[in-house]
Amino acid sequence: MARDFDVVELGPTDHPTAGDVAPDFTRPLVGDEFWEDVSLSDLTAASPVLLVFHPMDGSFPATYIWNELRDRAWDADHDVTVVGLSISTPYAHKRFIHERGLEYSLFSDPGNAVADAYDVVNDLDGMTGISEPRPAVFLLDEDRTVRYAWVAEAWPDFPDYDAVESALSAG
């Protein structure tokens, strides 16, 4: 008997995995007060980085993911900078940061080229011309070497937060 809802399976990807060096990029990084161009390598130079690709601000997966990341507050007891990335504009990011009470900054990439570089593009059915990143999490060392990677294989799908936490603790 068919179930009455569909979880869409996403195709295979060639995303960076543990041991790979993650692609560098520069995009506006939006905080609670301003945004400015920042390179991923600027962040990794200072500490390990948890790079979180998320669906556009306002979607329920984005809300769920960031509520969880906010509540887990990994940066409080781990040496890590947590940053997000979505196709939402800097203005939308600023609203989202305030609405969700985030103490994290979010990269803005409306062109979705960063997701393309990481091979985590999700073309959105029914929103012609719009693609965004699949939900994905990359834990990067100071030289952008991937220590842990998780990429959604279905839509919707959510990170394995406990696995991320284990990877953080293992570092």
Binding site: P28, L29, G31, E33, F34, W35, E36, D37, V38, D42, L43, A45, A46, S47, D75, D79, V80, T81, V82, V83, P90, Y91, K94, E103, Y104, S105
Partner: protein, 109 residues
């Protein structure tokens, strides 16, 4: 830790989050606080470009009430505003900024 900007200005240290970020020799010494599509900001941008000065752009919101970062620096919420780490100068008002840039860097190109 939370990202808190590429460099730390002394004025921000008192109020800002407790994170510092290393700055490298290649970081621009001038930070321009600007609003998208603001003609007064573009005037400063044009002068910076004409003088060949490297600068970092930080964009703020149209709503004045959302510009506490600028207020902490200059005492006002207006943009454009600049911070020049080389000289320690912080100022707002485009005419004043343009005059400052001209006086400080105009003859050195």
């Amino acid at each position: 830790m939370r990202y808190a900007g590429l460099t730390r200005h002394s004025d921000e240290a008192a109020d800002g989050p407790s994170m510092s970020h290393p700055s490298s020799d290649t970081d621009p010494t001038i930070t321009l606080y600007r609003l998208q599509a603001c003609p007064f900001c573009e005037r400063v941008v044009r002068r910076l470009d004409e003088l060949g000065l490297d600068y970092r752009s930080r964009f703020v919101e149209p709503m004045h009430s959302s510009r506490d970062v600028v207020k902490r620096l200059t005492g006002k919420r207006t943009v454009p505003a600049i911070v020049d780490e080389r000289t320690g100068v912080t100022m707002s008002e485009s005419a004043q900024i343009v005059a400052y840039l001209e006086a400080t860097y105009g003859g050195k190109a």
